[in-house]
Amino acid sequence: MAAVTEKTICCHCQQDIKVLSIDEDGREFCCPGCLSVFHIISQNNLEQFYQYRETSGESGWQIPEFRDENFSYLDSEQIHRDYIPERDGFKTMLFYLEGIHCIACLWLIEKLPQLVLGTDYAKVNLSKSTVEVKINREGSFSKVANMLVRMGYFPHPIFKEDQLESLRQKEERTLLIRIGVAAACAMNIMLFAISLYGGASGTLAKYFGYFCMILSLPVVMYSALPFYHSSLAALKSRHINIDVPLSLAILLGFFISSFNVFKGSDVHYFDSITTLTFLILFSRYLLRRVQQNGLSVASLSQFFDRGDIKKVENGNIISIHKKYLQKQDHIQVLPGEMIPVDGEIIEGKSSLNTSALTGESGTVPAFKGSKVFAGTENIESPLIIKVEALNEETRMGRIFEKIERLHQDQAPIVRLTDKFSRVFLVSVLLLASILFLYFSFTASVEIALMRTLSLIIITCPCALGLAIPLTFTRSIASAAKEGIIIKDETVVEKINHCKNLYLDKTGTITHGKYSVEKIEHLQPLQAQLAHDEVIYQLEKFSKHPLAKAIRNELSQTERNNISLEHYKEILGKGVYGQVGENRYHITGIESSSDFVQLGLFENNQLVSKITLSDKVRDDSKNLIKKMRNLGLNIFMLTGDKKSNAIKVADSVQIDHKNIYAESNPEQKAEIVEKDASSIMVGDGANDTLALKLSSVGIAVQGSIDVGLKVSDVYFSNPGLAGIYNLLKLGKRTLHTVYGILIFTTLYNLAGATLATMGLIGPLQAAIIMPISSLIVTAISFYGTKGESR
C-alpha cells in the first residue's frame, strides 16, 4: 500500500486525517468512528445526508469522541416505572445530543423510525440540540441510543423528574402570549388613534376613546404584568431598576388617558403605552431566546454525568443507572472512565488522575485498599470499587452543595442601566412635580396637567427598555458564534470593571492531559525500520490515554504499514509485539509529578525514550501578553506543586509573585473572593467554588459539569482565546450602551424643555417618540455591527 504522507481528507467528517482507517473499498477515514458512521449512512441509502450537509454550508466537523456507554439500563423496568410513563401504548423520551450541527443532522436523525424497529417518530430541536423519540411497545430506547451513537452523535438521556424544563417552557409560552395580546391590542388601538390624529371629532371621537381604553385594558392588566412584578421586587429591596420608570409610564399614561376619556377630551396615549409594552416585551423575548440558544448549558450539568454504571452482581456485570446505585454495592470502573462515587478499591491496581479534584497534574497510584473519590479518572486498568458514599455525600458532592447554598443568597448586581434609570426616574418625577405645581399656580390645573403629561410621555424610557436589551442580544449572539456562551448578559458589562485575571494552570493554561514532549532515539534499530513507525504501530490499538497522546504526535509520520505480529497489551505493564525476528515492547520507565517517561525496547534493550508531560497550550503565552496589554493583572491559581507552577509560569511569563500554588479549592475561592474585581478561569472541580465566588467565572472547554453550572461564561473552544475576545466584546458593547445613554439624555433634555414650554402637543409627542426609538435602535445596530457577521 502507498505511504500516506500528503494530507488526506476523511470521507465522513472531511477533516485532515491524523489516524487512518481504510475500509474495504479503499475509502479513507480519520478514525474508526467516522468509518462506522459512513457505513451506517451508506448501507441504508442515506447518502443524501452528505448533499444536505454541503448545501448547509457547514462542513468539516468532528464527531464526538467515541465512548463506550452501555445504554441497556434504558430498558430496565425501574427506569420505565419511575420516569417514562406509557401513554396509549407509546413512550416518549428526550435525548440531548452531542455532535448535532445542521440541517443534514436533522434529516439523518429524523430517519430513525426507518432504522430502528418500533420507533414511531424522532423530532429534532436544533436550537436545543435535543431529539424527542417516541416508541411503541416493540421499541427500545437502548436500541435508539445505540443507533444514535453509531450515527456519530452521543445521546444523553434526559429524565424529566425535575420540573425545571417544563417550567421554563411554560414561562416562555406565557411571555409569547403576553406579546401576542399586546401586539393585537396595540395594532387595533393604532387604527382608532390614527383616525383621531386625522381629525375625527364629536361622538365618534368619544366612542373611539372608550374603545381604545377597553382595548388597552388587557395590555395594562395582563401583558405588562412582568414589569410590575419586577419593579415591586426591586422597590422591596430598595433598588430601582429599569422596570420602575416603565411601569410608572404605563400606569400613569393609562390612568391620565382614561381620566381624559371620561372627561370628554380626546387627548390620550393608549396607542403609545400599548406599543411601548409590545416593543419592550418583544425585545426581551429576543434577548431570552439568544441567551438560551447556545445554552441549555445551565441544565447541561446533568447530561455530562454518565448515566450507566457497571455494577458487579454475583460475578456478572450489569448496567444500571446511577440513581439506583446503593452503598456497599460493587462497581467496575474501566480505564478512561470517571469514578462516580467515593469508595474503596477491592480489586485491581491502577493509577488515577485526580486533577479535577486537586489540580495536580501527575497521576496517583491506586491499589487494593486505596480510598478513591468521585471525580477522579481511572487511567490504567479496570478497578472494582466498593461504594461508600454517593451523590451529595461524596467529597465532590459536598463542594457542590456549598456552591448551591451560595447560589441562593447572592445579591443581585446593580447594572449600569439600573443606575441610569434611578437618576432618570428621580429627575423626571422631580421635574414633573415642579412643573405641575408651577403651572397650577401660574396658569390653570388644566394646563398644568397637560404639560406634565407631555413631559412624562416624551421622556418615556424607550431607549433603556428597548435598545439596550437589543445591544446585549446582538453581543451575546455574536459571542456564541465565536464559541463563547454567555449565560448572563450582565457579564458583558461586568467584565469591563474587572482588573485581575486568575487563571487555573492545569487544563486552562496547559492542555490538562499528557502529550508528547520529546522522543529521543538512543540507538538505531537492528531491523531496517523507523523508531516512530514501530512506536506508532505498537500504540495503535491501545485505549490508554498515553497511547492516544503518542498516536496524535506521530500521526503525520510516514507509514509503510509494517506488519506487527503477536500484538498484546498487558494492562498496567505495556504493549508488546513482534516484527519479523525482533520483539518490541513499550513500557513505563519513569514517572514523576509532572512527567512520564516511556521506553521502547527492542529484544529487551532500551532504544527510545518517550517523554510525555502536560504541555502549555501553544497560544497561552501570546494571549496572556495581549491581555496584560489590555491592562489586566494576571495571576495563576493552582493546586499543583510550586515547582510545576513556576515552570509553567515561566513559559507564559507570569510574575512569580502572582503565583498561588498548592492551594486547595477553599483557598482558591478565598483568594478570588477577597478581590472585588476578579475574573476566574478554570475547569476542574477544584475551581468551582472559586468560579462561583469570583465577579466573573469562566469555564473553559472540557470543564466538568458543575463548572458549567456555576460559571457565568462557558467557552466551547479550547484555550484562552475566548477570554481575549470576550474582553474586546465587552468593551465594544459598553461603548454602544454609553452611546445610547448619551443620546437618551440629550433627547430627554430637549424633549423635557420643549414640553415644559408647552411647545409639544400630543400629536408631536406621538410622532417624536417612535423616531427617538428608531434612532436608539440604529445606534444599537451600528455599535454591534462588527460583531455579528
Partner: protein, 66 residues
Amino acid sequence: MNILYFMIPVAVCMGAVFVYFFIWATKNGQFDDLDTPSMRLLLEDTEINQEENSVDINLKQNRKEL
C-alpha cells in the same frame, strides 16, 4: 357613518377570535421551536427503501454478506 358603531365591535370580535387561536396554538407548543421547522421544510420527504430498511441494519448486513 352610523354603521361604524356596529362594524367596529364586529371587527374587534373577529380580532379576539384570532387572539384566542394564537393563545391556543402557543399553549399547544406550536411556537416552542422556531428554528427547526424552517429547515425541515427544505428536506425532501422521501421514504428510503422501505421494505429493505424496515428492520435492523444488522440483519441487512448479514444478508449482504451471504
